[in-house]
Amino acid sequence: MSTKVHELAHSRAGDKGNTSNVSVIAYDQAAWDILRRELTEERVMRAYAHLASGPVTRYELPRLRALNFVIEGALGGGVTISLARDAHGKSLSYLMLDIDLPV
């Protein structure tokens, strides 16, 4: 059995230089337990591997039931010089929400 992160959490993406910052916020305690266990740095790096050089760092905020992922080398050299249309990587939250997790 697997489920998409989209079923468990919501997310927002932001930028700083060439680094993308993607939050993952669980809808409830059960979702939080799964995310904390399964949404690892390795899994996130695999999902972003064709876009980002990495590394990926995961921060935990248990009181907010949230994870904060910092994905380096993800924005085509940085917002101001990137050739990408979405230079800020605002759409990258939904790449996170598209990840399949075992449940």
Binding site: R12, V79, T80, L83, D86
Partner: protein
């Protein structure tokens, strides 16, 4: 005069934000302060270029429209305005704001310009300073540098307010610091009171992107719905002297303000949540919690802060050549194959003309332009090919869009909707500058 509570509203979250929500706050929000945050990382470098062409400009293009809209209501109600829309020319901005107030028939306001964020010459004198991302000295960027600006802190905003300014216009000030400056002044906080600075900085961080706290960037139909998004109300914060905070928005405005919207904005661009560095403190939100106090009413607790660092962060804007791009669309049978053929043709044309590029990016809009070409993407009914390239040479960059445009008659069958664009690139890099090298200052504009 020190108060026991202040209400601070967010009038804009970026330079091209909607206009009406600020007026709604000014007229119906019962505010003490209205803060407009309008500077992206590269804005000042761009505005520096405008100022070189015309010394009267250099502030953000919408500044006058925004302030002319809210000044009558703000001055009547005694709401003080703080904004970084001064960009590369806070002094010129202050003059223009005062003139505009007079032409609106308002009593002449005291306008304070905050200067000293422009550290271009200081950086030029210290080529040994190291860039934050690569650790290399800034020296190699200096010949191409357009501007260098330090993120100033809340202390200089407080000083401007303490000199009775009704309007404070700045260049680069850290986004949360504009809000914290209002708190320092209005509530009489000490600049070394870190528990209060923590609450204030977190509040500023939550407010600085305006609608992103009240339902903007949030809706996902069926999963996370937001009411009345065409009329989203911008947020305000009620801050008590003891550092407790309640977030709200004007009754009857659109959007939503709850624990979920606040949590998304809390983590927005924060990176390490135990060490969010501003000029005022090092904020730690790892123990922070939100509480729904009522409809569209949220409080928080648990913020902490460590003392501020002994440096200011500086953004260096520099010329980085040109980006040229073009697009063409295809639909129906074999659409993707025809788009791929166009990509080959354009690459070959650019080569034939003798152009080469450090980087060419190809997007299939509808398939790969946002999340890249992941495995197993289905072919869409219609697709747009986009080709973009960077070059130090304007002509080479311009050729990209030109060759895309020529596909109109020279390309594959059924290509439509060509577009081309060319822009000058201002790159930005960061470094840290010791505090003692930076001298923020308040200049009061009182001339008629």
């Amino acid at each position: 005069m020190t108060k026991t509570r202040v209400r601070i509203g967010a009038g804009a979250g970026f330079s091209d934000d909607r206009f009406e929500p600020a007026l709604e706050l000014a007229e119906r929000g019962e505010l003490d302060y209205l803060v407009f945050e309008c500077l992206a990382e590269r804005t000042i470098a761009r505005e520096t270029l405008s100022r070189i062409k015309d010394p009267e400009t250099g502030y953000t293009p919408y500044m006058r429209d925004r302030l002319r809209m809210v000044m009558p209501a703000c001055m009547q109600a005694g709401i003080r305005i703080v904004t970084n829309m001064g960009a590369a020319n806070p002094l010129g901005a202050a003059r223009v704001i005062r003139r505009d107030a007079l032409s609106l028939g308002l009593p002449p306001p005291v306008v304070a310009a905050v200067v000293g964020d422009d550290v271009t010459e200081i950086v030029r004198a210290h080529p040994e300073l190291r860039l934050l991302d690569t650790g290399e000295p800034v020296e190699s960027l200096l010949p191409r540098m357009a501007a260098a600006n330090a993120y100033l802190g809340a202390d200089i905003v407080r000083e401007a307010l303490a000199r009775d300014a009704q309007i404070v216009v700045t260049g680069r000030v850290a986004d949360p610091s504009m809000f914290v400056g209002c708190m320092l002044h209005g509530l009489g906080w000490s600049y070394d009171d870190y528990p209060r600075l923590a609450a204030g900085t977190f509040t500023g961080h939550l407010l600085e992107c305006a609608a992103q706290l009240t339902g903007g960037c949030f809706a996902d139909p069926g999963k996370k719905d937001v009411p009345d998004m065409a009329r989203i109300g911008f947020p305000y914060a009620d801050v008590d002297a003891d550092g407790s905070v309640r977030l709200g928005k004007v009754a009857g405005s659109g959007g939503r303000l709850d624990v979920a919207t606040c949590t998304e904005q809390a983590l927005y661009e924060i990176h390490d949540p135990a060490r969010y560095i501003t000029p005022d403190c090092v904020l730690d939100i790892t123990e922070a919690e939100f509480e729904q106090l009522g409809p569209d009413r949220v409080g928080f607790r648990g913020t902490r802060a460590a003392p501020r660092t002994d440096t200011y962060k500086v953004v260096v804007g520099y010329h980085d050549g040109w980006i040229g791009e073009g697009e063409v669309g295809y639909a129906g049978p074999n659409a993707v194959a025809r788009a791929r053929l166009s990509e080959q043709i354009v690459r070959e044309r650019l080569k034939l003309r003798g152009f080469s590029y450090p980087e060419i990016r190809v997007d299939y809009i509808g398939m790969s332009s946002l999340h890249g070409m992941g495995a197993g993407r289905p072919e869409p009914y219609e697709v747009r090919l986009r080709v973009a390239a960077r070059s130090p040479d304007r002509k080479a960059a311009q050729a990209v869009g030109f060759e895309m445009r020529t596909l109109n008659v020279n390309g594959p069958a059924g290509g439509g909707g060509t577009l081309e664009a060319l822009r000058e690139v201002i790159g930005v890099r960061s470094l840290l500058l010791p505090r003692h090298l930076v001298h923020p200052e308040v200049v009061i504009e009182e001339r008629p």
